[in-house]
């Protein structure tokens, strides 16, 4: 992206690389930002939903995130991928807006807790898959009991599927820190689920 590059005439932005979208936005091309929205709306909304736990809140946060992206996309310098940059913008915005709010999940229901450790292989039949989906919901609800730095790392790794290197770029930390946060987040979840399973078992025997 040098200043010597010439400005294209008619551009089909859907076929352009991410950094070219940033350049197009810098040139004031409305279609370039439209394409950014098309590519990353699901990512932004999904992460906002994961972090807020509320569809309504996720929509509000997503709107605000895209305004921030619009304002700062011209300064994107391609040192990271546009995807990790947008993850970082989204995460930072959600942190600032949700920072002191309680993680908006419901307490684990009794039957959820019972199923909390009964995860099954998704390759099995539809009934088993339903059980697995319930278990997934149980685990994501338990995320509310994990401290934010560890929760963010686990969300980015296990729900968003980012690599350790990508998570390091998003969070602005070293890979060793990423590894530690993921491990502590998962271990925290394990303890929550085992505690809930033990409680459910006790109540069942009474």
């Amino acid at each position: 992206m040098t200043s010597g590059e010439s400005r294209p005439e008619a551009v089909d932005w859907s076929e352009r690389a991410d950094w070219e979208l940033a350049q197009g936005h810098r040139w004031g091309e409305p279609a370039a930002f439209d394409e950014v929205y098309r590519r990353f709306a699901s990512l932004v909304h999904g992460l906002a939903y994961r972090l807020s736990g509320s569809p309504e809140r996720a929509e509000d946060l997503s709107q605000e995130v895209f305004i921030r992206i619009f304002r700062h996309l011209g300064r994107f310098d391609s040192r990271s991928s546009l995807k990790t940059w947008i993850y970082r913008v989204t995460l930072n915005h959600c942190r600032s807006k949700l920072g002191r709010r309680r993680w908006p999940t419901q307490p684990l229901a009794e039957d959820d807790a019972e199923r909390g450790v009964q995860l099954v292989d998704p390759r099995r039949g539809p009934e088993d898959r339903t059980l697995a989906g319930d278990a997934g919901r149980t685990v994501t609800q338990a995320l509310g009991e994990v401290k934010p730095p560890f929760r963010e790392a686990v969300v980015l790794r296990d729900l968003e599927g980012l690599s350790y290197e990508e998570i390091a770029q998003v969070l602005g930390v070293r890979i060793g820190t990423v590894r530690s946060r993921i491990a502590r987040g998962r271990d925290g979840l394990r303890k929550v689920l085992e505690r809930e399973a033990a409680r459910a078992a006790r109540e069942k025997t009474q």
Binding site: M1, S3, R26, G28, P30, F33, Y37, A41, S42, V44, H45, G46, Y49, R50, P55, A58, E59, S62, Q63, F66, I67, F70, R71, G74, R75, D77, G116, V117, L119, P122, A132, G133, A135, G136, R137, T138, V139, T140, V154, R157, D158, L159, Y164, G176, R179, S180, I182, A183, R184, R186, D187, L189, R190, L193, E194
Partner: protein, 218 residues
């Protein structure tokens, strides 16, 4: 534990992510065969990871989001000023070559100092008396060129009534032609200025707070 040494939980978690080296995997798998508690802990972590990865995907962005973002961005586009865009386009330059903005600051400061010094110099000049010529002259001498009197680096302009310096009324002026009867009479009243008859060009003099244009005899 050294900085690079993993805790047992980090080792198990990294194992599930395929982030261990071949040697580390071999060592851990040997330990898993021997140690029931490590195996149970690994299974606990595996259940968490599997549970998270089987979780339902988040809902897709609602159509209302696209409309809301488009509306906000339209407002934002209106708001973005020329200076915002200029600043955005300069930011890579600033990042890659920090000398340029520093150079611009130095130039700006130099220009500011220069203009301030000129202003102060003008203010000081405005307070000095303009001219005294002749045998007892002091201060600056000057010469009339048409309707203009050049005195050192300054110029006075005849407006038809008063001499003005850079548009500011200096004071009332009177013209005295030493070759005329009035001029000779005036010179008789001021014997201390007799040397003015030796002028070879018109001159401006200050006398008793009056500014006078004195023309020598033809």
């Amino acid at each position: 534990m050294s900085k690079n040494e993993l805790t047992p939980t980090e080792r198990l978690s990294a194992y599930l992510d395929g982030e261990l080296s071949a040697a580390e995997i071999q060592a851990l798998e040997a330990e898993l065969e021997q140690d029931r508690r490590t195996r149970e802990r690994l299974e606990g972590l595996r259940r968490v990871v599997d549970g998270l990865r089987q979780a339902e995907p988040p809902p897709p962005p609602p159509p209302t989001l696209h409309h809301a973002v488009a509306r906000h961005i339209a407002i934002e586009r209106e708001r973005v000023s020329f200076l915002d865009r200029l600043e955005q386009s300069l930011s890579p330059l600033r990042r890659h070559n920090p000398i340029l903005p520093m150079f611009a600051v130095v130039i700006s400061l130099s220009l500011a100092v220069y203009f301030l010094s000129v202003l102060f110099a003008r203010a000081e000049q405005g307070e000095t008396s303009l001219v005294m010529v002749g045998a007892e002259s002091e201060g600056e001498g000057g010469h009339v060129v048409g309707d203009r009197i050049e005195i050192a680096s300054r110029a006075l302009y005849w407006t038809g009534r008063v001499w003005r310096e850079r548009g500011v009324v200096d004071e009332a002026s009177r013209e005295i032609a030493l070759g005329s009867p009035e001029g000779r009479a005036w010179l008789d009243e001021h014997p201390d200025l007799a040397a003015l008859v030796d002028l070879d060009a018109p001159a401006l003099i200050r006398l008793d707070d009056a500014l006078l244009l004195v023309r020598p005899p033809p």
